[in-house]
């Protein structure tokens, strides 16, 4: 990878340059929380943010994504829609970069999802290396998802006064070469990177008991455990955990007719396996009738099924589901319970 440097003082100008070419989506303050939003000005961003409300993957896997345009009176006028716009996701944390990578694998599996893949291709990912955890309950460190080995175009690391920039892809290379703010790194800069990483590593603490590689195995053994009933009793099936998760992608397909009563659109809408009706069929049968079964399914899908199918866990350890749960259910507590049981 090519390695370059950009001074703090040049960052805003660089972002302005990007905004001239792309829709730039970056971390901004939202009252006392943070969110990824399209930037109106470079100074909107908060570089040193904690986990955002929604992950940046939601800007690639959109809600209410149009799939088809149709005409109610002429079936031949049905047209597929595969739309996207060039965009930059600026300063995604490694956990979220890893989340996007997992989504790439899932939605790239044949038959691949064209809508996601087209937008993904037109999305530039500029990552921001974490030198401290975002919160106490994040399990990114245990899952080794606090680092991103790839899946980004550029990765910025704060080494004090400047950012050390790793250039991973051709797209990343084109961006930095069109900008005059980047210069080659020196021996001292490399030293500074090494040092901030050493210091940064000390900040992260393990929160998971036992060996994370055994987690899937322990979960499988706990399929009939009481823990699911306990969690099920607490759960109110609101679906918040699904909505905030970087690797949740289940969807419903909905037709909407326009006011002209002639044309309309079929679009997909984020769905949530925690909702009561998710597994209901027209005859009234519900294949996951209880909250306990639904909670168990979500945890198994992230840690067991996705791992089996794609070789990696779908839970990136970002902690969003823990912070959003109205019933205070924590996937970290569930993991720790099955690991010791």
């Amino acid at each position: 990878m090519e390695e370059l440097l950009i001074a703090y003082s040049n960052l805003n100008d660089f972002i302005s340059q990007l905004m001239g070419e792309y829709n730039v989506i970056g971390p901004v303050r939202k009252e006392n929380k943070f969110a990824f939003e399209p930037l109106e000005s470079p100074s909107d961003i908060v570089i040193d943010y904690q986990t955002t409300i929604l992950p940046p993957s939601k800007w690639i896997y959109l809600n209410n994504e149009a799939l088809l345009e149709f005409n109610l009176h002429d079936i031949k006028k049905t047209k597929a829609i595969v739309n996207s716009k060039r965009q930059v996701i600026l300063f995604a944390h490694p956990c979220d970069i890893n989340g996007i990578n997992v989504m790439d694998q899932i939605l790239g599996e044949a038959p691949a999802d064209l809508n996601y893949l087209k937008r993904r291709k037109e999305t530039v990912i500029i990552g921001y290396e974490c030198l401290k955890p975002c919160g106490e309950k994040n399990l990114c460190f245990d899952k080794d998802y606090h680092k991103a080995a790839g899946g980004f175009d550029l990765l910025f690391t704060d080494i004090g006064k400047s950012f050390y920039v790793h250039v991973a892809t051709q797209v990343g290379k084109e961006i930095v070469s069109y900008s005059s703010f980047f210069k080659k790194v020196s021996y001292n800069d490399r030293n500074d990177l090494f040092n901030v990483r050493i210091e940064g590593a000390k900040e992260f603490k393990r929160v998971l008991s036992g060996n994370v590689d055994m987690l899937s195995h322990h979960l499988k053994d706990s399929y009939d455990d009481m823990i699911w009933d306990v969690m099920g009793k607490k759960c109110v099936s609101c679906g918040a955990c699904n909505i905030v998760c970087p690797t949740c992608y289940c969807f419903d397909v909905v037709d909407e007719v326009n006011m002209d009563m002639d044309t309309g659109c079929r679009h997909r809408r984020w769905d949530a396996c925690q909702l009561n009706d998710f597994s209901k069929v027209a005859s009234g049968e519900n294949f996951r009738r209880t909250a306990a079964e639904r909670v168990r399914h979500r945890v198994f899908k992230k840690e067991v099924y996705l791992k089996k199918r794609f070789g990696r866990s779908g839970c990136v350890g970002c902690g969003r589901c823990i912070y959003s749960c109205i019933a205070k259910i924590s996937i970290l507590d569930i993991f720790n319970q099955v690991m010791v049981g």
Binding site: L67, L68, F70, N71, L72, I75, K76, T78, K79, A80, I81, V82, I106, L107, E109, P111, D113, L114, N115, Y223, Y249, C250, F251, D252, V253, V254, D255, V257, G264, R266, R268, D271, C273, F278, S279, K280, V281, A282, S283, E285, F287, R288, E293, H297, F300, K301, V304, Y305, K308, R309
Partner: protein
Amino acid sequence: MSDFLPKTAAITKLKTLTDKEKLFTITLDNGDSLDHKPGQFVMVSLSGVGEAPISISSSPLRGNNSFDLCVRFVGNLTNKMHKLSVNDRIGIRGPYGNGFPLDRIYGKDIIFIAGGLGIAPLRSLIQHVLKKREEYGRVTILYGAKRPQDILFSEEVYTWVEDDSIEMHITVDVADSSWNRHVGVLPHLFKFTSIDPLNSVAVIVGPPVMYRFVIMEALTNGIFESNIFMSLERRMRCGLGKCGHCQINGVYVCQDGPVFSYKNAKKLKEAL
């Protein structure tokens, strides 16, 4: 090309089967055959309403490039279909799913077990087997319906009763005065047939509640777990292994099913 874009098709024939089921014969507009396998399903699309998964109810060997869908009116899309007529156009996506394992049943004695609407997807395989009757051993069909008026494809079913190359038993849960055949639940039909476990496969389709009892009978009669095939239903939204609605534990019904051997299905704790 987006996998969400349906092929356009027309309803070329329409037959009322019962008070809540109709048989639609569909032909694709471009004249192509659907090229499906027995046991697969399609996503039927109605613009402005949505889509629903419907099993294909006819054999691909039938010829004339049309296929049948037996539809029970029970939800938004199926109720809208009820109001359609011959020559109306619909959208079709598919065929999806793995279909029945023809290589596993080739040359064997086949016991078809149909519970209620389960006869609809099984009909695609029954027609397929009867078209090449000499390639199979004994053919036994056990069919259970709620009442005599709920029997689907009744004309065709009674030709199977009359067919000497088929052993057919029908039962209803509740009879009326015109009914002179078996009365009682489907599993008890096993009493009226004999099974050679070493050469038999069972193909079972019906409502979730029926599977346990029928599979128990099949196992009691010695049929191997890997020779019992069942079709599981879910409410797919995409048919492409993406929307998550058809997921049963770690498998997608639309990709890894809907047909599963009992040997594999019994590992899926959420299956029934």
